[in-house]
Amino acid sequence: MKKLIAILLTGILVSILLVGVYDLPKFGRADNPVNNEVAQRYLKKGVKDTGALNIVTGIILDYRAFDTFGEAVVLFTAAVAVLVVLKREDS
């Protein structure tokens, strides 16, 4: 009974998501709304602004560097939390 409810729930969820996918624009076109002026600005002036040939590195370490700083802080916090939970007392 529990399994049946789980499978039914997953079926409903996936069908709702597939209806959502049906209305998306076509895959792999250049005029999709995803490729707006933000990405074009990064592609056009990324090398001149940051000096990095890899534009993804230029975004994560120059334009959005404090985002990456928060991510490093999250990693540090996770390490400290695992240290608190898992360190043995007797040593």
């Binding site: 090398v47 940051t50 000096g51 990095a52 040939l53 890899n54 993804v56 590195t57 230029g58 994560i60 370490l61 120059d62 560097a65 404090f66 990456t68 700083f69 490093a72 802080v73 990693l75 540090f76 996770a78 390490a79 695992v82 240290l83 898992l86 360190k87 043995r88 040593s91």
Partner: protein, 139 residues
């Protein structure tokens, strides 16, 4: 572990893994890679050392104190350096600023190379810490 073959082979393999990871970190702004991938590979080399040589030898090389010092210093270094870069970039304050250099050289890109090194150190140490805590329960 008392396996002689494993020790001799890992003595040859570990420097190559570390040089490959340093290559990935230092070429992060020229080719695919960067701090996260290179730091993870460096952490994998430390994990291999810990598995093969055991707790005693590894604690001499990478003690708990040294590991925490490296992590905290690189995190603070990241914050201070990028904060300084945000203050000087595009403002009218005449402070010293690292030049961008010609794109394509290793020593170029302003603050990207030291930031990549800081992120790589943090990621490598965090991966080593995860592994030792899950493996033996102590660093």
């Amino acid at each position: 572990m008392k396996n002689t073959i494993l020790k001799e082979v890992s003595k040859i393999v570990i420097p190559f893994i570390q040089i490959f990871s340093i290559y990935i970190i230092f070429h992060g702004h020229l080719s695919p890679g960067g701090g996260f991938a290179g730091g993870t590979i460096f952490g994998a080399s430390l994990i291999l050392y810990r598995i093969v040589y055991g707790k005693g030898d590894a604690q001499k090389k990478i003690s708990y104190k040294r590991l925490m010092h490296l992590m905290c210093i690189s995190l603070i270094f990241y914050g201070v350096l990028k904060g300084y870069g945000f203050i000087t970039g595009g403002s009218y304050i005449d402070l010293f600023e690292i030049p961008l250099g010609t794109p394509g050289r290793i020593l170029s890109g302003g603050y990207i190379l030291p930031l990549n090194i800081a992120v790589g150190i943090v990621v490598a140490m965090v991966m080593y810490l995860f592994f030792t805590l899950f493996y033996e329960g102590e660093v």
